[in-house]
Subunit: 338 residues, 4 copies
């Protein structure tokens, strides 16, 4: 089977990881690297003598003739670059969030369909062993009914200079939730506060309501003294804690079900609660690099032998929630439908 010719556009923080994984993949041939900044192209390119170097998109398409283009540029440029790539006949793997607005994201999804090309969104978490294990637990009913989900994604990290914290951190949670829950968000409430001179919200709390009544709650912050990446999935039978900073026990499954036993309601009007406190289990997880798994599944998807976990429609859904959250922030936390 011949390899698929791949190119990476945008060589800042994430692009070099894409380049490295394309290079290491048996399915792809890294043929081009592109960035507006010549020094970046030269620096990254030094490790990939087989890839041609570009500073202009048009040259990349014409000369290197990639079959798939990975877009790892700032969000504001996703739409233009992905559009150009699709129109040049390439498949596209776009960083998340897919675009800055629902309108732009919808255009990309439609354009991909019209041109018969695949639009993949780089929801890396959906290719990790941990998130796949959680999804499996939900699907198989191990958790019972999902009660609620709480996520804390906070750190004293790099400020994005031109967006609210929700555009920087929430896409991770939203892509995980979308994959695990498999339901649409119907309403969003977002409260944010700003403690920086540009007045972007650097702390935000999001409340999500799903079509099946489930709720999820996100704490997002650039101002925490410590980094935390912790999601709790609470269910009627068991619950899961996903701590992405834990090296050896990323996932803990608690058989701590609560069973409600209402007896003699008329007389005592009291819920009797029986607690069952069972074992905790931290399953062994596949710890392959997610990007490697992702590229393998994307190759299979393009070749018609498999299906990638995150397509344009999934990326659009996340943009929809982000845009609604932004509206709710502007309305001081009023609920906004999606």
């Amino acid at each position: 089977m011949s390899k698929l010719k791949a190119a990476v556009v945008g060589l800042g923080y994430w692009g070099p990881n894409l380049a490295r994984n394309f290079q290491a993949s048996p399915d792809f041939d890294l043929v081009g690297l592109c960035d507006l900044d010549t020094r970046r192209v030269e620096k990254v390119g030094a490790s990939y003598p087989g890839a041609q170097r570009f500073t202009a998109l048009a040259d990349l398409f014409q000369t290197a003739k990639p079959e798939i283009v990975a877009v790892a540029t700032p969000v504001a440029t996703h739409h233009a670059i992905a559009k150009a790539a699709l129109e040049a006949g390439c498949h596209v793997l776009c960083e998340k969030p897919l675009a800055s607005t629902v309108k732009e994201a919808e255009e990309l999804v439609e354009l991909a369909e019209k041109r018969g090309r695949n639009l993949f969104v780089d929801h890396t978490f959906t290719y990790t062993g941990a998130v796949r294990a959680i999804q499996g637990l939900v699907e198989k009913g191990t958790l019972g009914d999902l009660f609620y989900i709480d996520s804390v994604r906070i750190n004293l990290g790099l400020f994005q200079p031109d967006v609210d914290v929700i555009w920087d951190l929430a896409p991770h949670d939203l892509s995980i939730l979308s994959y695990v829950v498999g339901k649409r968000v119907t309403g969003v409430r977002a409260m944010g506060t700003s403690h920086n001179p540009r007045n972007f919200n650097d702390v935000a709390y999001l409340d999500l309501e799903y079509e099946n009544g489930l709720t999820a709650h996100l704490h997002l912050s650039w101002l925490s003294p410590v980094k935390v990446r912790r999601m709790i999935f609470t269910g009627s039978k068991s619950s899961v804690i996903f701590d992405d900073l834990e090296m050896s026990e990323k996932l803990k499954i608690y058989d701590h079900g609560v069973s409600f036993d209402v007896s003699d309601v008329e007389k005592r009007r009291q819920v009797l609660v029986n607690y069952r406190r069972g074992d905790m289990r931290a399953p062994a997880l596949d710890n392959k690099e997610a990007l490697g798994t992702e590229l393998a599944e994307i190759a299979a998807h393009i070749r018609g032998t498999g299906k990638a976990a995150a397509l344009g429609a999934d990326g659009l859904e996340i943009v929809r929630v982000l845009e609604a959250s932004q509206k709710s922030l502007a309305k001081d936390g009023a609920k906004v439908s999606t």
Copy 2:
């Protein structure tokens, strides 16, 4: 100095702790124990041969003649019992929350004033080494400007049969916040969900706004697979994490200030953020039992030689926030002024 005669009313979970501390205190003489349930009185009383045992309040007042009565009964009964004690000429130490409604709490505060008796509220946390250290850091400006406070108080614990989770768990946070921040809450938003047949909210998120613009956010739950008691106080100069389940490092102070340096705004329109990442310090804390400290300060307050940390007015403030939260819950998270 003669000892103050003390009695405990309500011998369920907390009452025996009060009895034990009155007994151990050099300031008090435990003269009476009272509970509607004779077996409880007998069982607890067995360890305190010097205390008389009662099942009726009136008998307690008349026979044991206590100077201070500690009330550790269910919330719904606080008002009636505290009122009776004040009218019998006793000082009162009431469990939190002080009462079920603002109206009741106000009545107690007024009655205490009218009768010239002291009304103390058992905000135990305000007598701990950890909370006092945090308060000191805020007061001395070590944290700089307080940016925001986040608290997680969740567990798979005992359901209260007849109230929302906010009445059970939030009083702890609210009393700590009131003591540390020293400002009034002006607005509350509360979102809750219920997963039990009685339809009380077993999960709730509270957003608090303070008169000085500070915000605090509380995650309260009876449905978590693990117990968490963690508060983050984020400031402009340093931040504090208070983890009450940590044995040796309850308090961690992070010199991870963020300083904003906007240069050449016209041209680059960009916030340049400098990060300072300094040391972390876990101070040695006084780990005396808080209840012992509390009783000593209450004795000093009664004798006019000191001032207790939590009086009726403080208890009233917490009830005010709880009542507003309950209203917000009923209005699907709409903001309610306090």
Copy 3:
């Protein structure tokens, strides 16, 4: 069934716990408390109006007529007090270590047998849910072959004024190991260092060899900056970590077996090691107070309906290892048979 009359001798740190548990037990009637220090007797006695108070052993035996005497005095006095109690016709529950020398311990075991009384040793750990779970895992073969055991029991704690650290800390480990392994120690090596003016060893390392070839290693210290209580039981199929300071995950069982596969030794001269890295499981444990379980089993033992986990012979075995360790310390770590 009539209650057994019990007395506690020695009301320092541990004695009051014994008193409290006798009082709470349905099997015993606390009839006497004894200590040379009148103030201690009065202070502890105040909570047990039903128990008579003594400062002389002879009075205790004659007046209170206990059927079982718990001895919680300094080690040096165990022999004399236990002997007196056995000769007075009482069963004895003695703190660990049973005695200061093997000779004394042997005398007590013999005397108990001669008098037809039971001699129990307070190896509290052998009555905990955690240690019983470990013993079960070993017995059922879940761990496979036991490879080795490592224990760390260190802290900046109270110095015993008149013994080496091994007499203070090792009895805990030795009693757990004896119960879990069920084999005799055949050889001991001990290395210690002293950093205090009295020249008692405040740090020690013990190497134990068991009759079946198993080895165990203990790190004991009064000089650590933190408290650690951690035992690792490594086996061919799975391994267990017992961290007694962990609140919710005291026991972790790792399915991380190592299987050795030597192929073509002649040619490649190489051990090929296959790693199996499976799940970790933290079982729910019975967290009843061990002393309660212990008293129940002791009562059953006396009544002939059950068997207590730690008898005089078990206590003697621990003293034998301690005495051998002391000899090894004196010989700069030379191996000493037991």
Copy 4:
């Protein structure tokens, strides 16, 4: 200043890290890569188009003419390769342990001196922010008198096919201890056990005595269910815990000094121990990659503008301790002088 021409010999696990750091260094020019295995040379070489590829040492020296050769091959080959490189006029940076025997290590040290070339040993840890901070605390007297050092370096990791666990894991500890303590080891005791068919010790305990009376104790194992990398440096004034697997709090300094106060020895014959329990501090550490720092200091050393932290003599000292440990293992733990 012209760059120093560097080559890497041995492209297994560690060699590629050396290549990457030489490439990234402003002080070096990576001119050659060498390994017996052609595929490894090709694979690693693909990322360094500027470096020539070799499978024979002689060709490397003759063609690429490196000024420094980094040796990252199996220990058994260090002597021959380093010798050849020194004789070819190159400086050498050799992986640890420097050689398989003291005799070989001594020869290399002498040869380097004779040829006027520098022999560096890759004690990477001595170039980390954490180890340098510990060394500084000891030097400045922050810890007071060092009481003892305990290290646990255990994991279910890769077995070395042809050596005892001490040759694989102890060099890390020994290089750290040598750097921090700055004293010679005078005696060693080692006890090991084997649970694999080749009969190499896969678990070992080492006791080290230093010329100044200090003792250190190492627990080394390939059989642990979890990875642990934890050293405790206990001192008279404060103590340090170095946990290399901790992301944000690698170093914790405890002001938990113990001060001994013997009063009235004649009468009471008792050591009175006063405990001071102060703050814990986790200092911010330089988290640059140690290999980068190391190469910069090696370049300075060669240029005569600085001094590298680990030279041939340091490497020889570690081999001396390892060889003595091996002898002690063979003598069932008898003390062996070094």
